[in-house]
């Protein structure tokens, strides 16, 4: 198993090295931190990053501080579904030996019983990882990994798209895929700019409700999710309920009174909600969005992770706006 993984990683290395030649070994990522990002959060790479093993040792900055990798990792364990998506998207997939049970994308990610919610050090160590990526430091997992001399990166939920780009670049540098990360970030930025430009202009901003679960928990504009909608120019009815957490529970009668133009369901997989089930809820038949068919069924995972598929999420939002604005 590990032998195969190593072989794959080696193959990937060769391929990436070849790609790197075209670029002449991209310099430090220029896409990071447009104007205001604090230097502390920007990915710091000491050695001139190239995609070859020669770039190592490399030092990167996670939310848990500075992490130094002596060699290009080829046994990565990811306990974060978003990090898994990022790793595969930047070309580090072949270096990944195990991902947690919630890492549902991509299909060929090596899913295991490992869980990021109840991390088990022994189970993680059994994969002999040379890099572990987590999104939450639960039960002192980072301290535990440090005591085992296993390098670990903490990449918590990004606050905004720049945070996503930074994490992609950190992972790129840490795994020897800086070029792949830079390319991905550039293409994401282009696609997002295009989507934002194509979003229909309405005389009055369209309003929306983003449903996290059937008990009407939602995400305000201050969250990563809310910022994606804001990019498209939508107005969040949940902002009225902002309680500082960013994820308040709305009263059903407030929602019916607010009558948003668009309803986005991010609980289609977890809870089996759909346009039909919400239309059957008490009082919801009176909602404009329900009557006009503007209830959008999102993929829970796409609409909750801060990874590369945020582009898909924004595309779904813009498509729904076009349908609504007619």
């Amino acid at each position: 198993m590990r032998r195969t993984a190593s072989a794959l990683a080696l193959a990937a290395l060769v391929v990436l090295a070849a790609c790197g030649d075209d670029d002449g070994g991209a310099a430090a990522p220029t896409t990071a931190a447009p104007t205001t990002a604090a230097p502390a959060t920007a990915p710091a790479t000491t050695a001139a990053p190239t995609t070859t093993a020669a770039a190592f040792p490399v030092t990167v900055e996670g939310a848990n501080g500075t992490v130094t990798l002596d060699e290009r990792p080829d046994a990565i364990v990811s306990l974060s579904p978003t990090a898994t998506e990022m790793l595969f998207a930047i070309g580090a997939g072949p270096q990944v030996v195990a991902v947690d049970d919630q890492s549902t994308f991509p299909d060929d990610a090596p899913r295991t019983d490992l869980t990021g919610l109840e991390p088990n050090l022994e189970a993680i160590a059994a994969y002999e990882p040379d890099l572990v990526v987590v999104s939450n430091d639960i039960r002192g997992v980072l301290d535990g990994l440090a005591s085992l001399d296993i390098p670990a990166l903490l990449l918590p939920a990004a606050a905004d798209l720049d945070g996503t780009y930074e994490q992609l670049e950190v992972l790129g540098a840490a795994t020897g895929n800086a070029d792949g990360a830079a390319e991905l970030v550039a293409s994401m930025q282009t696609e997002i700019d295009e989507l934002v430009a194509s979003a229909p202009d309405t005389p009055e901003a369209l309003t929306y409700f983003h449903e996290l679960d059937p008990t009407l928990y939602t995400a305000t504009s201050g969250t990563f999710i809310g910022q994606v909608y804001a990019l498209a120019g939508l107005e969040n009815v949940g902002d009225a309920a902002d309680d500082g957490s960013g994820y308040p529970q709305l009263s059903a009668e407030f929602l019916v009174a607010a009558d948003p133009d668009l309803i986005f369901l991010a609980d289609t997989k977890c809870c089996g909600e759909s346009a039909a089930t919400v239309a059957a809820r008490p009082g919801w038949a009176e909602l404009t969005a329900v009557q006009a068919g503007n209830v959008v069924e999102l993929d829970d995972d796409v609409a909750s992770r801060w990874g590369p598929r945020v582009v898909e999420f924004l595309a779904a939002v813009v498509a729904a706006m076009e349908a609504t604005a007619g």
Binding site: D101, Q102, T115, L117, E118, L212, D213, P214, T215, L216, Y217, A240, A241, D242, D243, P248, Q249, L250, S251, A252, E253, F254, L255, V256, A257, A258, D259, K269, C270, C271, G272, E273, T277, R281, P282, G283, A285, E286
Partner: protein, 343 residues
Amino acid sequence: MTDAGPLRVRGWWLAVAAGSVVLAAAVGLLVGPAALAPTTVLRALLDGLPFVDVDGVSARDAAIVWDLRLPRVVLALLVGAMLSLCGGAYQGAFRNALADPYLLGVAAGAGLGATLALTGGAGSASALVPLAAFLGAIAAVVLTYSVGAAGDRLRSPASLVLAGVAVASFLTANQTFVQQRNSETIREVYSWILGRLSGARWADVALLAPYALLTAVALLAHRRQLDVLGVGDDEASTLGLDPRRTRLLVVVAASLGTAAAVSVSGLIGFVGIIVPHTVRLLFGASYRVILPLSLLFGATFLCLADLAARTALSPAEVPIGVVTAMVGAPFFVLVLRTSRVPG
């Protein structure tokens, strides 16, 4: 204490308690996160009655009043009444001041049932969830009773209480295990366990109402026997009461009512302890007084607690369990400090 004392107190206070229910329900209906004028609420309310037609009531206002606010107020009244009444009955049946409606594992059983339904793919709006919770609650009480009865043939209620502790721990462990194995539904499970009235539907009211009626009738009919039980099993026997039979009847009725309440509202804590004790401290230790007043004041209490839950951070919701504990516990301490403890 003479018979006339508590009875006279009861007559007077029954009217006050009933009035508090009506008042709480009225305030609950008129106030809410959707800023409807009181006249709008009243007009929408009237318009929804059969054979009454009020002009100028929008479909949305009607939906807010009839489909969202009214069922929630009614459900809060029913759940509050059930939890308080059953808590009082448990305290009498077990002669244990700390007994609450969840004593015999009802909460743990309902939690396991609901978790199994939710992780098994039933959406949280599915009718399967309350059904599974109800069956889980009943199964837990049956298990507790058979374990406790096997212990020492129910000679003391303590063995039943201990059996309840064991069964509850066991079922909670199972519930936690199932929940951890299915982390994708963890949010739904938690929101069920925290207790909620926010999604109240008429279907929930319809599910609870028949059990609530049955439980209320059965328990109120046994309020005198609970007083007799208070003197101890042996003494009660000499007074011509079969303590085991009475206890079984009361426990079955109270468990049924609690299970039905829990199945539609999740686990709402403190109500079943605080309300009966407050009544006991204020109006005396006779179950002839405690049971009917707990029923009424319990309804009032939860209706007002739910009002706070949906208006304190409006339009955001506060979990109802947080309100009942945060408001209920200090209030209870206040009553405890200002009253003479009977006996």
